[in-house]
């Protein structure tokens, strides 16, 4: 993928592909998107789909609580020691892009403590449409929007919608109730993203869940190739 350089010495600096002992680190995938679009629910679904084949861990980012981590714990999608909450204390995008150190510490500590890991999912605290992950933190990113947030979001674009490695348009089950035009959303997304993939998902009905998991599986296969 990228950044395959490494630093001599004690420990990785940021996205170094090798851990201090020389082994390859876990693939890191970020999930970003507006508040309430379904990031935590998507993380839960991914854990359920992949936990039997991959060694997984999750980092959540909340502004000043641990609610997302607590939700994942209640749902028991992973053992508690595989879930770490980072309290960002500021705008969530800062912690995934501008000062990534707290998140880097969380992923490194997870790998030290419960590793070896194949995949770490890093969920951003909900933020606006401009929030993207630093390449120093994650190897690929998923942007999650939902149909209830307005069907003009793909048209409006923004770095999350246009550049994320995967765009998930969630809550398609709600489209009839909120008057969102899925065909229009698909066409707008295509116009913004060209060849980059888009999945329409409903965690209620289960549509698209396997496609998102399949995309993650392919990322992991490419990472370990």
């Amino acid at each position: 993928m990228h950044l395959d350089h490494s630093h001599e010495g004690a420990s990785a600096v940021s996205a170094d592909a090798r851990r201090p002992d020389g082994s390859r680190r876990a693939l890191r995938i970020g999930l970003g998107g507006p508040v309430g679009s379904g990031k935590t629910a998507t993380v839960a679904a991914l854990c359920q789909a992949l936990r039997d084949e991959l060694s997984l861990a999750v980092v959540t980012n909340d502004i000043y609580t641990r609610e997302d981590a607590e939700f994942l714990l209640r749902e028991a999608v992973l053992p508690p020691e595989r879930i770490t909450a980072v309290e960002t204390g500021a705008c969530p995008h800062t912690a995934i892009r501008d000062d990534i150190s707290a998140n880097l510490e969380a992923v490194e500590d997870l790998e030290d403590e419960v590793g070896p890991l194949d995949l770490i999912l890093v969920e951003s605290g909900g933020d606006n449409l401009t929030a993207t992950f630093s390449k120093g933190l994650v190897d690929a990113q998923i942007f999650v929007i939902d149909v209830a947030g307005g069907d003009d979001i793909p048209r409006k674009g923004g770095p999350g919608v246009t550049t994320a490695d995967l765009l998930v348009v969630n809550k398609t089950d709600l489209a009839p109730y909120v008057g969102s035009d899925l065909a229009r959303m698909a066409a707008d997304a295509k116009a913004q993203r060209a060849e980059l993939p888009v999945v329409f998902q409903s965690l209620r009905s289960g549509t698209g869940v396997a496609d998102v998991a399949g995309w993650v599986r392919a990322q992991h296969a490419a990472w370990t190739a």
């Binding site: 630093h7 001599e8 010495g9 004690a10 420990s11 600096v13 940021s14 000043y64 609580t65 309290e87 204390g89 500021a90 000062d99 150190s101 707290a102 880097l104 510490e105 030290d112």
Partner: protein
């Protein structure tokens, strides 16, 4: 702020002055000593001994770990690598700061100034966020503290030179009990905007 001790620029200045002459003085001396090449492991132990609050010790190590990452990316150095290996979860921030200054080719005076300045700039910017204090007023507070800050930095460098000759016991050990106590109280809050 909740307790009504900081309500505006004047009380912010008092708070900063207190912090500068206690935590700031100790941090500046630690940073200066590290910049002069004093054994950072010994300095780290001395920092622990001068930080009664466990919450502040944890915060200092977290900040040290973050600074270490930035410093190693910017000024790669064998000494930084060695300290990172010794303290994978972080050494005290002023010690890392001093060593980073050394790796960057700076002297003890520069390291002391940075540490002393950080001891007051953090509270000033927190006040801007929490109290909506006019940011120009906050900056003016810092500017007015500059001569005192210079004196603290000079004294810190003197102390650090003494450490080179006589050992870490020559480091200052000034402390502000209320800072330590409120750090412990803050650590127990369920909802926090700041790590410490």
């Amino acid at each position: 702020m909740k307790a009504g001790r900081i309500t505006g620029a004047a009380s912010l200045e008092d708070f900063c002055r207190g912090r500068l002459h206690t935590a700031g003085r100790v941090a500046a001396a630690l940073a200066a000593a590290a910049a002069l090449g004093v054994d950072p492991v010994e300095l780290d132990a001395a920092a622990d001994a001068r930080t009664p609050s466990p919450a502040l010790r944890v915060a200092a190590r977290k900040l040290g770990r973050q600074l270490m990452r930035a410093a190693r990316a910017t000024w790669p150095s064998g000494e930084l690598d060695a300290l990172a290996r010794e303290f994978p979860k972080g050494a005290h921030q002023p010690v890392v700061l001093g060593l980073a200054a050394r790796a960057a080719g700076l002297g003890a005076e520069d390291a002391a100034h940075c540490a002393a300045y950080e001891s007051v700039s953090g509270p000033a910017s927190a006040t801007v966020r929490l109290l909506s204090l006019d940011p120009f007023d906050a900056t003016a507070v810092l500017a007015r503290l500059a001569p005192e800050l210079d004196r603290v930095a000079d004294q810190a460098v003197e102390a650090a030179r003494e450490v080179v000759d006589t050992g870490v016991d020559a480091l200052p050990a000034a402390s502000a009990p209320l800072l330590e106590i409120s750090a412990e109280v803050h650590a127990a809050w369920p909802v926090r905007l700041f790590a410490s």
